[in-house]
């Protein structure tokens, strides 16, 4: 079965500095990988995804993520953080060839809270 780890509960970064939110995964086949963001009192919003192709994926709000197959990682990055980027970030994985009982379900990581300090 697939799994996702987000090793940091909290990431603090100063405004204007680069940020990284880490994600590692485990699947039996080639993964579909996703990042979602949750702003306060809101539902989760799709940020970006990796399916195939270029390992560097660009998404909304200036975020990007790099797929690294050898390290089974999909870290989220942004070159220059904004205070408004402060939110809860979830990494998710689906094994498209998986035969689990959850149909198309994703497996979500536990979430990482990003705080950007002014």
């Amino acid at each position: 079965a697939q799994s996702v780890a987000q090793p940091e509960d909290q990431v603090n970064v100063a405004e204007g500095n680069p940020l990284t939110v880490k994600c590692t995964y485990s699947v039996s086949g080639n993964p579909y990988l996703f990042w979602y963001v949750q702003y306060p009192n809101r539902g989760l919003q799709f940020l970006l995804k990796y399916i195939t192709g270029d390992n560097l994926v660009k998404g909304s709000y200036g975020f990007e993520a790099e797929f690294n197959k050898s390290q089974t990682s999909f870290h989220l990055k942004k070159p220059s953080a904004l205070v408004s980027d402060s939110a809860l970030f979830f990494c998710a994985v689906r094994d498209p060839g998986g035969r689990d009982n959850y149909g198309q379900n994703f497996v979500f990581g536990p979430g990482t809270r990003l705080s950007v300090l002014p």
Partner: protein, 115 residues
Amino acid sequence: DAGITQSPRYKITETGRQVTLMCHQTWSHSYMFWYRQDLGHGLRLIYYSAAADITDKGEVPDGYVVSRSKTENFPLTLESATRSQTSVYFCASSEKRARSNYGYTFGSGTRLTVV
């Protein structure tokens, strides 16, 4: 979150009462899901539905009941609410495709407090 709506946004109920959380989507997505979000646990799948009249248990189904008589609606019922069911509940939907690479679309959530 346009296209998938949850109601109510906030609900306070007493232990032992039955309460139903509503979820409605306008995209005719085949798949719908209910998650609960708790500190320290992230998102946990309660139930999901692959189509109308097809539902299945997720990771934490105990104490919950779902139905899906119409494609667009997927209500979640707590038959006898307990304090441990205090949580934020999210409904989500996705298209049905073989080896779909589409993500989920989430509702805005329902914050349920059981007192």
